[in-house]
Symmetry: C2
Subunit: 156 residues, 2 copies
DNA sequence: ATTGAAATATGTTCGTA
DNA sequence: TACGAACATATTTCAAT
């Protein structure tokens, strides 16, 4: 990792390499090398530098939850009692596998979470038996995603 | 891809393989093979089957936007005029690279989007000069993520 | 479904420019 | 930085069980 506030500068070749790998992390380096007309060793060296800079935080296999029967995604705004500390709430939310994201936000709520459930019944159970049961949670507002139309990373 | 409504069943070995690759898409298959005590050829075959089933939607390099100076993430609820069709709004949003996610949601708004900006000024510019300028957008509500505390995929 | 072995391709290191 | 060559690993295919 690099120093906290140093910004990384990418040249055109870095960007080309990253665009390939952001779309497909398993794309062979040598194949990318042939595509952009540079040696594999050079790409290898650049990737090592980018990793050391902290820009690359890893790679992931992306799985399609629908194929496992998870078809209901929702955002839930959570109001916490004044007494309830955010870290304790987050700790409780971490234990719920359906919770994929958790943000401490400005605005109406204390916390905004994204959840993934099999169906509406599963979501209802999650709300009533898991989320609402967390000590300090006073009220929730749920927004079901009927359709996710954009899903991408930062563009470089 | 498999047939629309067929659900995939994973056995323990599939899950082990996927857990490795969901954490690190470039982990060599042979290394996973040695870890779980099965041949590389067997893993290769299982992955091919999982890919054919539609469960694997690919792999991605994950980059850390902070290192590029993008430190402000926000969710924006968008109210659309009755006359405005969702698809046209989505088309306009697709052209804005700061928009990382877009959901058609139940509840207050028509659309909920996630955006990534360099700072608050950038976010303000995005709101006033880009989002609000889209024809049919009547009002927005912004929630800045002060801290993302959970970020993960479905657990298998 | 799984295996080992063979053939092919890739990852990695290093000396040099 | 980039290169090519050499070496170490990994991927992929296949016949056999």
């Amino acid at each position: 990792m690099n120093k906290p506030n140093s910004l990384v500068k990418l040249d055109g070749i870095d960007k080309k390499i990253l665009r390939f790998l952001m779309k497909d992390a398993r794309r062979p380096i040598l194949e990318i090398a042939r595509n952009i007309g540079i040696s594999g060793a050079a790409i290898h060296q650049r990737l090592k530098k980018l990793e050391a800079s902290g820009l690359l935080s890893g790679s992931k296999f992306v799985i399609n939850p629908k194929v496992l029967g998870y078809t209901t995604m929702a955002y839930i705004g959570i109001f916490l009692d004044k007494a309830m500390s955010n870290p304790r709430a987050v700790k409780a939310l971490e234990k719920i596998p359906e919770v994929l994201e958790c943000h401490y936000t400005t605005g109406n709520w204390s916390i905004l979470i994204k959840v993934l459930c099999k169906d509406n019944e599963h979501l209802m159970h999650l709300l009533n038996k898991e989320i609402q049961q967390i000590e300090g949670v006073s009220r929730t507002e749920t927004f079901i995603s009927l359709n996710q139309q954009i899903n991408r990373q930062i563009s470089i």
